[in-house]
């Protein structure tokens, strides 16, 4: 797995890799790639090991004996390296389309062959007698020729219907065969074979002379094929339209839940429907939100001073963990106007070190964070003193306040920026040609004034990896072209949209695995549970039957809508 490369070949290799990612040809195997590129570097070691120790260079590369001095170590934080996410993405895109296409092409080939056989059979039935014993055939009268027209049109209708129902681009690749389609194909095959058998024995062998009978036989075949097509519609399309089960889909990472009503489907088909709806209903999976609290706490600690208040002896809770740092660190969280009561150590307390700062000095400072120790996220901590119980609440409220502040600044900046742009009307030809801009240029002109506020907001809400600068400018140009208000422009950044809204490379959800105890071709049942696993998360699906509804009727006579006035008056005498 290529994690980083060293030396002068670094830039070239990375450029090659990124080009390959963008190229459409996905069927190259990985070994072909590495043998073709002369400058590829493969690192076997896990990322934690030092770079210079484990290099292995493949191909016709000349081994540079001085590589120990001339190579530059490029770690994962360098701007030219690929992150782990990119590696995963590349590998996923490579093995994405290999292997499944064979099955699909096989299916297509089989169905085309079957279709051709079925379509040409009636024509063969009609033509063969003319070819084989034309002289002895009775002449085709009017009724017989009328049947020709009927055969022709029914075949045309059958062709269109089969094209409409079966020759559509596939929605998904299923793990097992599609049972109903297989059944139908078998049925059609058996049917046509039996017709051929009858034709071969009773007509070809005996060389029947009644041509009208043969034509009627061919018409009956086409009629029966149309009925089989009707059966196909009912089985494949109509049967699952009536809702029968209600499926509850929950995402395992953040608990987002949706409910869908489906008919009687097999588990794999239900999984396809759920996944199609997943891309539009569920907010995009954001792994940054899950580790938000940890990084928030770490961020707070980074810029604060440490005061040793209780001394090295400390209180009993801090004593257990202060191994990584020799002192227990205590911070105070304050907002202007709010104070937390803190009992200072008693003067007779021997653990109070002489160098400790008085707590009143701490109380006067602003914005420190209360933590018994620094190595764990604050939500998991046991409170040291009763006043520290609401630590997590304080952290979250402070974060919410910051989000609100950034959002307000962003809205103001965007509104001001949009005020500079105006849609040029057709009549306003007075402007000099130099002032007129197309949407792209207009977007680039006003983008810098709001870029900073937008970036800060995205960083606070941990969405910065979902939107690239390019995509933001494109969206801005789109909004300007379609005369949208600033609020419409901001909508896609203020709320987390569904997965489809973002570019394909940000989805983190392409390859799905169906995990089920029951066979995936068996139908849904009440209480069935199955999993749809992606690399980063999984969707848990539970099935419930929609209850049988018994409706009763109550007839209300329209004349019964009469009312009385009920009084209770009190009169003083």
């Amino acid at each position: 797995m290529r994690l980083f490369c060293a030396g002068r070949e670094c830039n070239d290799t990375l450029k090659e890799l990124s080009e390959r990612e963008r190229s459409r040809d996905r069927h190259k195997s990985r070994s072909k790639e590495s043998s073709r590129s002369e400058k590829s570097v493969t690192i076997n070691a896990p990322p934690a090991e030092p770079l210079l120790g484990d290099q292995s260079v493949r191909g016709e590369e000349v081994q540079d004996d001085n590589w120990g001095e001339t190579t530059t170590a490029v770690t994962g934080t360098s701007e030219h390296s690929l992150s782990q996410e990119d590696i995963v993405r590349i590998s996923k895109s490579l093995d994405d389309s290999v292997g499944l296409d064979c099955k699909h092409y096989l299916n297509v080939a089989l169905s085309v062959i079957l279709g051709l056989v079925v379509f040409l059979t009636p024509l063969a039935f009609l033509i063969l007698p003319h070819l084989l014993w034309a002289d002895r055939l009775t002449a085709c009268g009017t009724a017989c020729e009328g049947l020709f027209i009927s055969v022709a049109f029914k075949l045309l209708i059958l062709l269109l219907a089969v094209w409409a129902l079966f020759f559509r681009p596939p929605r998904a690749g299923l793990p097992r065969i599609f049972v109903f389609r297989a059944l139908l194909a078998t049925l059609v095959l058996l049917f046509v074979l039996s017709y051929w058998l009858f034709y071969g024995v009773r007509i070809l062998d005996s060389q029947d002379e009644d041509y009208q009978g043969i034509v009627q036989y061919a018409v009956s075949l086409v009629d029966a094929l149309l009925f089989i097509h009707y059966l196909a519609i009912v089985l494949l399309e109509l049967r699952q339209l009536q809702p029968f089960f209600s499926l509850c889909v929950t995402r395992s990472t953040d608990g987002a839940t949706q409910h869908y009503n489906l008919g009687q489907l097999s588990i794999q088909r239900a999984a396809v429907v759920i996944l199609e709806n997943y891309y539009k209903d569920f907010p995009v999976h954001n792994p940054a939100m899950l580790t938000a609290s940890k990084s928030r706490a770490a961020k707070h600690l980074a810029g604060l001073k440490v005061y040793n208040v209780d001394g090295p002896g400390g209180n009993n809770a801090a004593a257990g963990i202060a191994q990584s740092q020799s002192r227990a660190m205590i911070f105070f969280f304050l907002r202007p106007g709010k104070r937390i009561l803190w009992t200072p150590p008693q003067p007779s307390d021997p653990s109070a070190s002489p160098g400790s700062i008085s707590p009143h000095t701490l109380l006067c400072s602003s914005f420190s964070l209360v933590l018994p120790w620094s190595s764990l996220p604050p939500i998991l901590l046991q409170p040291v003193k009763p006043e520290l119980v609401s630590i997590s609440v304080l952290i979250y409220t402070e974060h919410e306040r910051r989000v609100r502040k950034r959002r307000a600044r962003l809205v103001v900046a965007v509104e001001e920026a949009f005020a500079h742009i105006r849609h040029m009307q057709e009549e306003e030809q007075k402007k000099a040609p130099g002032d007129v801009m197309d949407p792209r240029e207009a977007a680039q002109a006003i983008f810098p004034s709001m870029a900073r506020a937008l970036q800060k907001y995205l960083r606070t809400t941990r969405q910065q990896h979902l939107h690239s600068m390019e995509s933001i400018q494109q969206h801005l140009a789109f909004c300007i072209t379609n005369n949208m208000t600033p609020k419409a422009f901001l909508e896609s950044y203020l709320t987390t949209g569904p997965t489809l809204q973002y570019g394909k490379d940000r989805w983190l959800a392409r390859q799905w695995t169906l995990i089920s105890e029951a066979s995936v071709t068996s139908g849904l049942k009440d209480g069935a549970v199955f999993l749809l696993k992606c690399i980063d998360f999984s969707l848990v699906v539970t099935t419930k039957k929609i209850p049988y509804i018994q409706l009763a009727e109550e007839f209300i006579d329209p004349k019964s809508h009469k009312f009385v006035l009920r009084l209770q008056s009190e009169t003083s005498v």
Binding site: R566, L567, Q568, S569, E570, T571, S572, V573
Partner: protein, 125 residues
């Protein structure tokens, strides 16, 4: 005081004589009535049986002629000056009580405690 439709009502009654007080142009008795056959009996606070449509005393003003005469809140008025009050509308009851040419009204009222007192005294014998 249970009411059986079609049957005569029999209760223990107390005779109360109220002398009306002249207040300017009006003669006031000093209490308020509620109930009547045109009223909603379920909203009556003082009746035992919530289908009872009789005339009840809902308020007695302090120190007024009614209180002096011994009328209590919650009493049911059975007769006013000989006029029956068990099957009258609210307005008819008011009219019978506020006749301008009468200075004195003689009421027959009943309450639960009367019957208990009578029964107790009978049991003592």
């Amino acid at each position: 005081m249970s009411f059986m439709p079609g049957q005569p009502v029999s209760t223990v009654v107390q005779r109360i004589e109220i002398h009306k007080l002249r207040d300017g142009d009006n003669l006031i008795l000093g209490f308020s009535i509620g109930g009547g056959i045109d009223q909603d009996p379920s909203q009556n606070l003082f009746s035992e049986d919530k289908t009872d449509k009789g005339i009840y005393v809902t308020r007695v003003s302090k120190g007024g002629p009614a209180e002096v005469a011994g009328l209590r809140m919650g009493d049911r008025i059975m007769q006013v000056n000989g006029w029956d009050m068990t099957m009258v509308t609210h307005d008819q009851a008011r009219k019978k009580l506020t006749k301008k040419n009468e200075d004195v009204v003689r009421l027959l009222v009943t309450r639960k405690t009367l019957e208990d007192a009578v029964r107790q005294s009978m049991m003592q014998h």
